[in-house]
């Protein structure tokens, strides 16, 4: 069939196209920041309005820790406590004193949101420095910001995003150091690794792993076939750079030991104290729930499931392809080795599960619920970077790869596939304390008197009650705690505790005191019971703060 041969011809000068490309290159980063910020704010609002932003029990605890530094019966830096590393709570201090920022979770979410934008920017820069074109860089960002799990976590007061930002920044500068051999980049890498060591213990592993990569890189740079004299020089250079790196990167770790020594009189209090993860794991192990301990295959399987559930199967598959492409590419070996720092969370989490220092439940494989499934999100920046590399290098396939990603991402959103939200809603990371906190909100707000409660066990109740922190006597209130647990009838109008559970420090002490007989059980709720001092004893109750300037 012949149709008229009407043809439109469009002519473009290559110079013009190059100028357009330069313009995009120049403004791409600003565009990326704008998009990331917009999406960050939008998703925070979305999860704030539907209440999921505060669903994680841990999120409420983090906010309370930050709040206790600025408000309470014994405010101060000592309220940063032990076990959980301090940086996220320190960063909350400028805003947490505002009630709205505390109770909306914005104080903590703000840190996550900034970290989200920062991580996105680092992914973009990482790819740029690896020589990846604009499409590959944008694709890496796309993989990152279309992940519902990361979008959710960045809207909460959880610590994952801060850790991701600091670890990815540390890896980025390590890669830059490998590429340029500039010491300043090594120092920057050490700085961000230090920040990560003050965020979560994953950062401690990164510290060791990155140190190892520094050493390997120096040896590889100089070549392995050396005379004894040359080897000695290489060793000295390695030693020097390692000391430089480790001094700054490990500073945070040293500070943490010092902190524990000063506040708790034991440098290892965070590791072996009564509220440590170890204490939790001992309990789990005795209940037969630490199934990964000593089992490397199960540890690997569980973590890989968590990884795929968090990052989605197609990006993981594409990321793996990108990793292989990176390693067969013409980039210098040092860059490839340094880029391995991005994989530190993979090794850390598997080892942590294997040694029993971590617990992870994947429904249907270990246990009948989800718990800590969000640990699988830790490799998302790595996956984003490696997928960007894959799309860049496989030129002929790139539109197929992008198309398939958009295809699967579409169904991710339509099916609402977000395992971190499932854990927050119905998994073991949530705690629906609305009944007990609701009772407190209704009955304690306008009546004088303190509430005796264990923050270690019931931080979620403290948060959800909406009452000011100074209403509560808890472990961190020093003399108030000591007095209230021995003579509760003189200090606590209400007691919130899990009856018959010696893990609840309030029950453990109060149940053995004489004053406990002066309380009535108001009601039993999920997670805790409420006791109220009988009316005839109210006259002897202290209702005002009396211990000032506690140290």
């Amino acid at each position: 069939m012949k149709i008229p041969n009407l043809t439109f011809n469009f002519t473009f000068k290559k110079d013009t196209l190059e100028k357009i490309q330069e313009w995009f290159e120049k403004h791409a980063l600003s565009f990326v920041i704008f998009i990331l910020t917009t999406i960050s704010v939008y998703t925070f609002l979305h999860y704030y309005l539907n209440g999921l932003g505060l669903a994680y029990n841990d999120a409420r605890s983090h906010l309370d820790i930050g709040r206790r530094v600025v408000e309470g019966l014994k405010p101060g830096l000592a309220q940063l406590g032990s076990v959980w590393l301090p940086l996220p709570h320190v960063l909350m201090i400028p805003t947490i004193w505002i009630d709205f920022f505390w109770h909306s979770g914005l104080s903590g979410a703000l840190i996550s949101m900034i970290s989200f934008v920062a991580t996105g920017v680092i992914i973009y820069m990482f790819l740029k420095k690896l020589g990846v074109g604009l499409l590959g860089r944008f694709f890496g960002i796309l993989v990152f910001l279309t992940n519902i799990n990361i979008l959710y976590l960045q809207s909460t007061a959880m610590t994952e995003l801060l850790l991701l930002a600091t670890m990815t920044a540390g890896s980025y500068y390590l890669m830059l150091w490998a590429k340029t051999d500039e010491v300043l980049n090594l120092i920057k890498s050490a700085f961000f690794v230090m920040l990560s060591t003050l965020t979560r213990y994953d950062g401690w592993f990164l510290f060791l792993f990155a140190g190892l990569l520094v050493a390997i890189n120096i040896f590889v740079k100089h070549g392995l076939r050396k005379s004894f004299g040359q080897l000695k020089e290489v060793y000295q250079e390695t030693e020097g750079k390692l000391i430089l790196f480790a001094t700054l990167a490990g500073f945070g770790i040293a500070l943490w030991f010092l902190w524990n020594l000063m506040i708790f009189k034991d440098p290892l209090y965070f590791a072996f104290g009564p509220f440590s993860a170890r204490a939790q794991q001992v309990q789990l192990e005795s209940a037969g729930e630490l199934v990964t301990k000593g089992n490397i295959l199960l540890s690997t399987k569980l973590y890989l499931y968590a990884l795929v559930y968090n990052s989605y199967a197609y990006p993981v598959f594409l990321g793996l392809s990108g990793l292989i492409i990176l390693f067969v590419s013409r980039l210098i070996r040092e860059i490839k080795i340094a880029s391995l720092a991005l994989l530190a969370p993979l090794f850390f989490n598997i080892l942590a599960l294997f040694f029993g220092h971590s617990v992870l439940f994947v429904q249907g494989i270990s246990g009948n619920t989800l718990f800590n499934i969000r640990y699988g999100i830790m490799l998302l920046p790595a996956i984003a970077i490696f997928t960007g590399i894959a799309v860049d290098r496989l030129k002929a396939l790139r539109w197929t790869l992008v198309g398939l990603f958009l295809f699967t991402a579409f169904f991710t959103f339509t099916s609402g596939d977000a395992v971190t939200i499932d854990d927050a809603r119905v998994g073991s990371s949530q705690k629906n304390v609305t009944e007990v906190s609701g009772w407190l909100k209704e009955n304690a707000i306008d009546r004088k008197g303190f509430i005796l409660i264990s923050a270690a066990s019931h931080d979620a109740i403290i948060f959800s009650s909406g009452l000011p922190m100074k209403k509560f006597i808890h472990e961190g209130t020093g003399a108030y705690w000591q007095s209230a647990t021995t003579s509760p009838d003189r200090w606590a109008r209400w007691i919130v505790m899990r009856t018959h559970d010696d893990n609840d420090l309030v029950w453990k002490d109060v149940s053995r005191s004489e004053g406990f007989a002066k309380y009535d059980l108001v009601d039993s709720y999920p997670f805790a019971d409420i006791y109220e001092l009988k009316d005839e004893y109210l006259g002897e109750l202290n209702t005002k703060p009396v211990f000032s300037n506690q140290k």
Binding site: I3, N5, F8, F10, T11, F12, K14, G403
Partner: protein, 515 residues
């Protein structure tokens, strides 16, 4: 002349084998007769996809309506639709229309069901021819291309679905035919045909929209010509070719018209219509035996059901379903058609030669695999039937691999062994049954039946050894002379003999430097 003769032999061979496997029984069953076990569980309509599509064909031809009579509705359960007080089809309609001529011609010879199923058989043969043609166009050796086409037809689960009434071979035809047209031509008519095929794919099976998408995009991109000359980039575009898009109106109008007639609204898709699992003696929807009480109301009043076409697909199950489709013993490629993994080698070979076409073909495979890895295991089935379009594409790559490595003895030997295994497994499926449960259901079934319930092709082997075959030729003619196992051995041996001969011939030709 030689080419025509070889094509004729190819068609004759494939036709003969497929006829030997074609499922069916003689007769023109009525609505009442077709509800008997002879036709259902023990016969060619063993599963609801066959029943659902055939029911619509039967209803159209016999009753001149898209609404099912009560006997046909009973025949279609548990995958029966219900709308505005009428029993309707839950399946995309085009396949039922396509097989209607076969039904009518078959009915004339007293073989209405066989006639309908034969249309799918014809599509399977055309698909094999298209694979052969496409592989040759892309540079594969002609003999390697023939072998690859036979690999698709007889060494993959497409064999078991070429002899019964499913949509997969029609879908595969639409994909292959579009690719072939795009390879051969670049004119108004070719574009018109491709858009038409893209559009008609939707009433064949709704997920086809996604498989045809890469083809549609590729075709659209071909409307533009980009020339790089010196310091200038020239983009040419013939806007009048866009008029070829008008051909999409025909299938779309058909589709909307069918929806209007069946469901009362042109935009009501069959997958979103309320479903009826069982019908009581009064002809009303009722609660099936296995349902929980909490859903009883929805079964009795189907209009209360709310369904979404998008929510069928979820990425949460992607990892486990990918495993299921690729590696699991109950339907994975590894166990049912491991020869397909040779195609992966072909991908690498062809990528270096023609990255663009590799990209298109891999896009189709990718969409196919990932879509169904978000959907499900496919219920009771033989192998992974949803991946039949992918088997076709991968077979093209297999031709590339064969062409490249035909000189290597070890490769050829390995290929031969995989072929023998894959042909044996899939012939077993074709001559027996597709009614294999997924592992989880087999385990549950064991508790009810109190016996070992196989979920791999062992189930087919068990079926065969109880002297059963669903082949029309066997049931009508051969059963008086051969046992079912003997019949299987005969068919499988024939295929293996011919294919082995071709593989060896290819090897010898390659050694002599003729390739």
């Amino acid at each position: 002349m030689k080419k025509i003769f070889s094509t004729f032999l190819f068609v004759l061979f494939t036709f003969l084998i497929l006829v030997l496997g074609l499922r069916g029984l003689p007769g023109n069953p009525t609505g009442e007769e077709i509800n008997q076990n002879t036709w259902k569980d023990d016969g060619p309509f063993e599963l609801s996809p066959e029943r659902g599509r055939y029911a619509l064909t039967m209803s159209m031809v016999e009753n001149k309506t898209f609404h099912f009579s009560l006997p046909i509705a009973r025949f279609t359960t548990p995958d029966l639709g219900y709308k505005n007080g009428n029993y309707v089809s839950l399946f995309a309609p085009a396949v039922s229309f396509i097989v209607a001529p076969g039904y009518i011609i078959g009915k004339y010879f007293g073989l209405s069901q066989v006639g309908a199923f034969s249309i799918i058989l014809l599509f399977a043969i055309i698909n094999a021819l298209l694979i052969r043609a496409i592989a040759k166009l892309l540079g594969a050796n002609p003999l390697a291309s023939s072998i690859a086409a036979l690999v698709f037809l007889f060494a993959s689960p497409s064999f078991a679905y070429a002899v019964t009434l499913y949509q997969h071979h029609v879908t595969t035809f639409l994909i292959l035919f579009s690719v072939w047209i795009l390879l051969k031509w670049k004119n108004f008519l070719s574009f018109a045909l491709v858009w038409f095929l893209c559009a008609i794919s939707i009433p064949v099976d709704y997920p086809n929209l996604f498989f045809m998408l890469p083809i549609g995009i590729y075709a659209f991109a071909r409307l533009f010509d980009l020339e790089k000359t010196g310091k200038v980039l020239r983009l040419k575009f013939r806007p009048l070719i866009l008029l070829s898009l008008i051909t999409v109106l025909v299938p779309l109008v058909f589709f909307l018209w069918f929806n209007k007639e069946s469901y009362g609204s042109p935009l009501q898709f069959s997958g979103t219509v309320a479903s009826v699992k069982a019908i009581d003696e009064q002809g009303k929807p009722t609660v099936p035996g296995s349902a929980g009480q909490d859903r009883a109301e929805q079964f009795i009043n189907p209009d209360l059901q709310k369904k979404s076409s998008i929510l069928f697909f979820s990425t949460r199950e992607l990892p486990s379903l990918l495993y299921s489709h690729l590696f699991s013993p109950d339907r994975g490629i590894l166990f049912y058609t491991p020869i397909m993994f040779i195609g992966i080698i072909g991908v690498f070979m062809f990528y270096k030669k023609n990255g663009k076409m590799t990209s298109l073909l891999l896009a189709i495979v990718g969409f196919n695999i990932f879509l169904y890895a978000m959907f499900g295991r496919g219920g009771w089935a033989f192998g992974s039937r949803y991946l039949i379009p992918s088997y076709a594409i991968i077979s093209i790559f297999t031709a590339m691999a064969l062409t490249h490595f035909s000189k290597k003895f070890l490769f050829v030997l390995f290929f031969l062994l995989l072929t023998i295994y894959s042909v044996s497994v899939n012939t077993l499926g074709a001559v027996t049954t597709n009614r294999n449960p997924p592992k989880v259901e087999a385990v549950a079934l064991e508790k009810i039946s109190n016996r070992k319930e196989y979920y791999t092709f062992q189930r087919n082997w068990e079926f065969l050894n109880s002297n059963q075959s669903k082949s029309y030729v066997y049931r009508t003619f051969a059963k008086d002379y051969l046992t079912a196992p003997q019949y299987f051995y005969m068919v499988a041996s024939l295929i293996i003999l011919i294919m082995s001969g071709q593989i060896i011939l290819l090897y010898l030709q390659a050694r002599k430097g003729k390739i």
